[in-house]
Symmetry: C2
Subunit: 113 residues, 2 copies
C-alpha cells in the first residue's frame, strides 16, 4: 500500500534538507536508503531524481560537498549550509501549512460544504 509518489514530488527538497539538517552530513546513496527506511518503503527516491536535486541545491548554495575516499571509491558527502538551514526551516513551515490547509479542505468536505 505505497503512497502515491506524485505527492512526494513537491516535498523532495524539503525531505533532503531536513534530513541533512538533522544528520549533519550524508552521501547520496545513503540518502536513498534512509528515505526508504523512514518511509517504510513507501517512498522510493530514485537516483535520477536525487542526484540532479543535490546538484541544484549545491549550485544554489544550500548544500556543500566534501569528497572522501572509502574502499577506493569516492563518496560525496553533502552537508547543509547556513543558507540551507534557513531554507529547510522555511520549507518545513510551508509543508505544515500545506498539510493544515488540506486537512481543513477535507474537513469542509466532511461537513458537506
Amino acid at each position: 500500500m505505497a503512497v502515491n509518489p506524485q505527492l512526494f514530488k513537491g516535498s523532495l527538497n524539503t525531505i533532503i534538507l531536513n534530513l541533512l539538517h538533522e544528520k549533519g552530513k550524508m552521501y547520496g546513496y545513503e540518502i536513498t536508503k534512509k528515505v526508504l527506511e523512514i518511509s517504510n518503503s513507501q517512498f522510493q527516491l530514485t537516483e535520477g531524481a536525487l542526484y540532479p536535486a543535490l546538484h541544484k541545491m549545491e549550485t544554489d548554495g544550500l548544500l556543500e560537498v566534501s569528497v572522501k575516499l572509502v574502499d577506493n571509491r569516492p563518496r560525496k558527502y553533502y552537508s547543509i549550509t547556513k543558507k540551507g538551514k534557513k531554507e529547510s526551516v522555511l520549507k518545513l513551515k510551508e509543508l505544515l501549512q500545506f498539510i493544515s490547509q488540506m486537512q481543513s479542505f477535507l474537513q469542509l468536505k466532511q461537513a458537506g460544504l
Copy 2:
C-alpha cells in the same frame, strides 16, 4: 503567508475530484473561485492548469460534461462518474497516507533520529 503552490501540484486532481464528488456538478470557472475561497486565497488554481486537467479526466472517464446556456453563454458543467468516484476515494486515501507519512517523518526528526 501563502502556501507554496508547488505542494498543491500533486493534489490538483484530488481536489477537483473531491469537490465534484461533494457538490455534484460544477463548471470550470466556478471551481477556480471555490478553490480560492475554501483555501482562504492560498491556492490560486489557474485556468491554464484547470482546463487541461478537466479535459484529461473527462478523456479518462472520470468526469462527464453537460453544456447549458446561461445568459447566452455556454457553460460546461462537469460531474463525476462512477469510475471518478472510485478514483476520488482512492486519491483521498493516498493524500491521508501522505500526510501521515510526512507527519511521522517530522516526528522522527524531532525525536532526533
